[in-house]
């Protein structure tokens, strides 16, 4: 039988500490050459009938983790547009699927017999895996006594960052900035009881940085939110997308660790069979010379060594491995708890090969 889970069930069984633990182990497996990824690939087709640069997006990531007997395909199928909000161009995924919903799935397969094990939405898992990787990096790169977290953004990703950072450091205060005052106030009111820490919404982006020990950018901004000169000695900074921190951080930081080595492609349709590379995409050369998170976790490279170092975890792209690892935890726990709906695996396999 193949297990079908919804986000509520995923959330019931997936705790942030479990996410951190399995991911750290998965990074060790990868550092030892016992896991692998297929590079993320984003295909975007412009939809001329839509306003605000509307597009259809299809994205895929793959990871293989034999230690836990799983591989994972994470995919999303979305209609997006790019409105300008408070002067910044943003990307918004529209709830275009029936019932006003979004489509993002993790498909988990067995590396033992190839069979499909489980299908689950990627929403909660996605939030946890990004934040967990940032927190694993902070565990090695932030000061041991780091207690003030500054957050840019007030959406799902930002919420995950607060939860995950609270697992690796004893936080006393969180400061949050996002352009819409109502959003940052709501974030503070909702997250404070979850992590049991004071959360202060601040009116200016610079105020997030002042006095912070860890600064996490977790926004959907299309423009820089953290300017490198604001960062002070002893701070640890991280991001979830390229545009959030200006590239001066690469000169300013004393120690930089990256998540993955190869630039993934976002290709925009409208010219040729494979479209064209999105303007401003990463180039793999930009990542040359920086150690990987998995190398730090495996003890092959050092984490923070001095109190006044500026450290930067450049979360330059996700890995399919994260979905295999976290997907395994969810699958195992959901099976144990008797959650989800099962369908015959025969419906998803066939009598001849292609």
């Amino acid at each position: 039988m193949t297990l079908i889970l919804n986000n509520d069930e995923v959330q019931r069984v997936l705790t942030m500490d479990a996410c951190l633990e399995i991911l750290e182990d998965a990074y060790r497996e990868q550092a030892a050459g016992r896991a692998m990824n297929q590079l993320r690939y984003d295909t975007e087709m412009p939809l001329p009938e839509m306003r605000n640069d509307g597009r259809y997006e299809f994205k895929t990531m793959v990871g293989v983790l034999p230690k836990y007997g799983v591989s994972a395909l994470r995919m999303s199928s979305s209609v997006v547009h790019h409105p300008v909000i408070t002067g910044q161009k943003r990307v918004e995924k529209l709830p275009a699927a029936p019932g006003g919903r979004w489509v993002g799935l993790v498909q988990l397969y067995s590396t033992v017999n190839g069979a499909p094990l489980a299908f689950m939405p990627d929403g909660y898992l996605q939030r946890c895996r990004v934040a967990a990787s940032s927190a694993i990096a902070a565990k090695y790169l932030a000061r041991d006594d780091a207690s003030v977290l500054g957050i840019f953004g007030s959406g799902w990703q930002a919420r995950g960052q607060v939860e995950a950072m609270a697992c690796v450091r004893r936080l006393k205060k969180v400061k949050v900035y996002s352009p819409t005052a109502e959003n940052r106030k709501k974030f503070a009111a909702e997250m404070a009881p979850i992590v049991n820490v004071e959360i202060e919404p601040v009116e200016q982006p610079e105020d997030v940085v002042k006095g912070a020990d860890i600064i996490a950018c977790a926004t959907n901004a299309r423009e820089t939110v953290l300017h490198a000169p604001w960062v002070e000695p002893g701070m640890h900074v991280t991001d979830v997308k390229r545009i959030e921190i200006d590239r001066l951080i690469l000169d300013r930081a004393d120690r930089i660790v990256i998540h993955q080595r190869l630039a993934y492609e976002t290709r925009i349709g409208g010219a040729g069979q494979y479209g064209e590379l999105e303007e401003g995409s990463w180039r793999s050369e930009e990542f040359e010379g920086y150690p990987l998170l998995e190398e730090m976790v495996a003890g092959k490279v050092a984490g923070r060594e001095k109190r006044d170092e500026i450290t930067y975890f450049w979360n330059n792209a996700g890995l399919g491995l994260q979905f295999a690892a976290v997907g395994y935890v969810i699958y195992k726990r959901a099976k144990e708890a008797g959650l989800g709906r099962e369908i015959p695996t025969e419906w998803l396999t066939q009598e001849f090969h292609t």
Binding site: Y41, M45, F58, Q273, W347, Q350
Partner: protein, 43 residues
């Protein structure tokens, strides 16, 4: 909502349908109204 198995595919898919759909797909790509993902081996 549908889950289509091999027997179902076999019972509805004719060569004529395949050729017509494929030809239409190629026309859409030719006028840049469709796009394909690239295999990593193409990079």
């Amino acid at each position: 909502m549908s889950l289509i198995l091999n027997n179902d595919v076999k019972s509805v898919l004719t060569m004529e349908i395949k050729m017509k759909a494929s030809e239409d797909g190629h026309r859409e790509v030719a006028r840049s109204a469709a796009v394909c993902g690239r295999s990593l081996t193409d990079v």
